[in-house]
Amino acid sequence: MKPFAERIHLEQNEEIIKIVRKHWFILMRDTAVPLLLLIVPTSVYLFAGDVVLGIPLLQHFHYANTGALFLVSAWGLIAWMMLFLVWTDYYLDMWIITDQRIITIDQQGFFRRIIASFRYERMQDISIEINGFIPTMLDFGNIRAQTAGHEVDFRMNGAPNPRDIKALILEAADKIVAERHAELHEAGFQDHRGGL
């Protein structure tokens, strides 16, 4: 397996400052349904035994019945695959904040992966949004970065500690802009205050 920095094609001298993934609550929310689908029928199968649950069909849905074993195994496998699809989608979505740009990776299922990047010089504004009781308590929200031109804004929903991430991005952006100004100054360009 190639090193991660090589797989995402970092430029020479470019360093990763931070990798940001969505807050764990988002993962928990998205895995709730597959987990329920996995646990409930399996529990009924294993623990119902001869207990009549009041539903005639379920009288035979227990560990002594091989048909029920097949159904529970097949159902469980489907829920298991759904669970890992959600986990894959969560883990492979990320914002990679480097000292020169932000790389956004959005994995949508298995057959769609959107990778975009924007340099700090093109960033015009960055804003955060924390809406709701749970996001406020757990400190996660949406980060939106606006870039110059007609490009689509970059968004990450459910980012943890959005204020800290915004501060990190602004600090990196300020540094790169200051470096570019210094380079231009060294190259002999005068600003409008200096005249000729």
Binding site: F4, R7, T66, G67, S73, W80, M81, Y91, Q107, F110
Partner: protein
Amino acid sequence: MFAFSLPFSSLMLVLFLIMLFVATLFSFFLIYHWRSYGESSVVVTPTLAVYLIGTLCFFAGMGTAVLTTL
């Protein structure tokens, strides 16, 4: 206990083979994505290991049921 007639056990076998095909494809794409895009082997390896072990357990359950009824 239900008495399984041949058609029902054949149906289970067909379903087993379909699930095997689907799970194999899914596993292939899952492993491909994690190995291609996973950031660190500290997460990639346990994820794939847990997935494969779980899948094998479910297939063991289905296989047992099919073999019992054939």
